[in-house]
Symmetry: none
Subunit: 232 residues, 2 copies
Amino acid sequence: MSKARLLLVEDDKVLADLLVWHFERDEYDVRWTSDGEEALMLALEQVPDIVILDWMIEGISGLEVCRRLRRGAATANVPIIMLTARGEESDRVRGLETGADDYMTKPFSPRELIARIAAVLRRVRPALAGEVLHYADLEMDVVAHKVRRDGKGVPLGPTEFRLLRHFLEHPGRVFSRERLLDAVWAHDHEIELRTVDVHVRRLRKALNEGDRADLIRTVRSAGYALDADGDF
Amino acid sequence: MSKARLLLVEDDKVLADLLVWHFERDEYDVRWTSDGEEALMLALEQVPDIVILDWMIEGISGLEVCRRLRRGAATANVPIIMLTARGEESDRVRGLETGADDYMTKPFSPRELIARIAAVLRRVRPALAGEVLHYADLEMDVVAHKVRRDGKGVPLGPTEFRLLRHFLEHPGRVFSRERLLDAVWAHDHEIELRTVDVHVRRLRKALNEGDRADLIRTVRSAGYALDADGDF
DNA sequence: CGGCCGCTGTCACAATAGTGTCATCAAAGA
DNA sequence: TCTTTGATGACACTATTGTGACAGCGGCCG
């Protein structure tokens, strides 16, 4: 998981160029289009980590693009920041209700947009924003590749690290073995489903060293989840 | 988990009262303070679901409160919306960089703030934003695969879970055993009708643990339904 | 170059948890 | 009361997970 993929939909070429320049300087993998339909196609072709979407664009409206992104299974959870012309609170409210995660009112400074993007990414995919992930007494410094529980370091192999990171990015949520394989393993070749079990076990073993409570919940016939109150 | 707990840190009494009034109308469980230190104490005492934090407050600054909330393990993941006076882009950027999830520039309309809060909560705790099935004092978080009654977790096996989900998706409606088999069981092979009875019983047992009212109504010679007022 | 070592992916087998059926008992109609 | 339909507890059986062991693969170091 290296660069965050960003999709910019903006039909003011001058502004778009400026933003692209800033984004690339900040190590984003940027794709740009001025057209709503094309934006949807691009988003399906390769699901971005975040979409920056102008409210007024060629073709279908930004609002409609937003709505369709939300409707598609693959893109339903991609964060969207809308760019709106000054004014109309009601538009902004509608934007948020449609599912935009945030918006900026023009004119704005690229620096502020960048900060917003980082804030949104931090929420949605913390690992992309170079953050420390927390959960209960667990903390993971993604950049330094270190994990601590209750202050004490926990040694993890690469796979266990990625697995835990995935869990930390979506705490509480249950993932099937299939989903975990998709998310955590580089799927160059097929891997046995049960392999997940083994890695979960290794992760548990490392995490619960001593006699600490198990942080991973097994959900029978469904998968696993990171979950502190395993008791219910 | 019923109401979302909201902590408001704002030293303009007039504004605070207005906001509290709006929040309570929207069914939030609100706590208010005008002081930064006290805010931290309140947050530790009972971790809120979201913090609305004025940038300029008595005692330590909003920025500092934000930073300290982020540092504490218990509060590290609580979303924060900052309220800033018009202007200073650099403040806003700093706020976002410090870990605020969003900010509003004064003056703003309560309605817009409410929309923002809902948007943030929807992302962070789906259960608080209605992405959870409810019925009476029952709630089912499908993603987390958890069921709670009256706040307390209820352990369910896979089949009971699917069965309850089906009922929750059509509350009040009566389903024949045949329909339930169709809807809840993967029909690879034929299953005895009466098996449904057994699972209903198991579901009831788990749900009514303690001495709580039965939520499943038996409709003689017709089937079962999820139904609070068992008789009438 | 060889050998040691840490990681991985798979198995086979053990340990559980969850399922489907029955026989039997209780309750509700008629 | 007699008949039907639902509730229950027990139980054999399955399905799903947990585990320990092991072989293959690179990387690293002497």
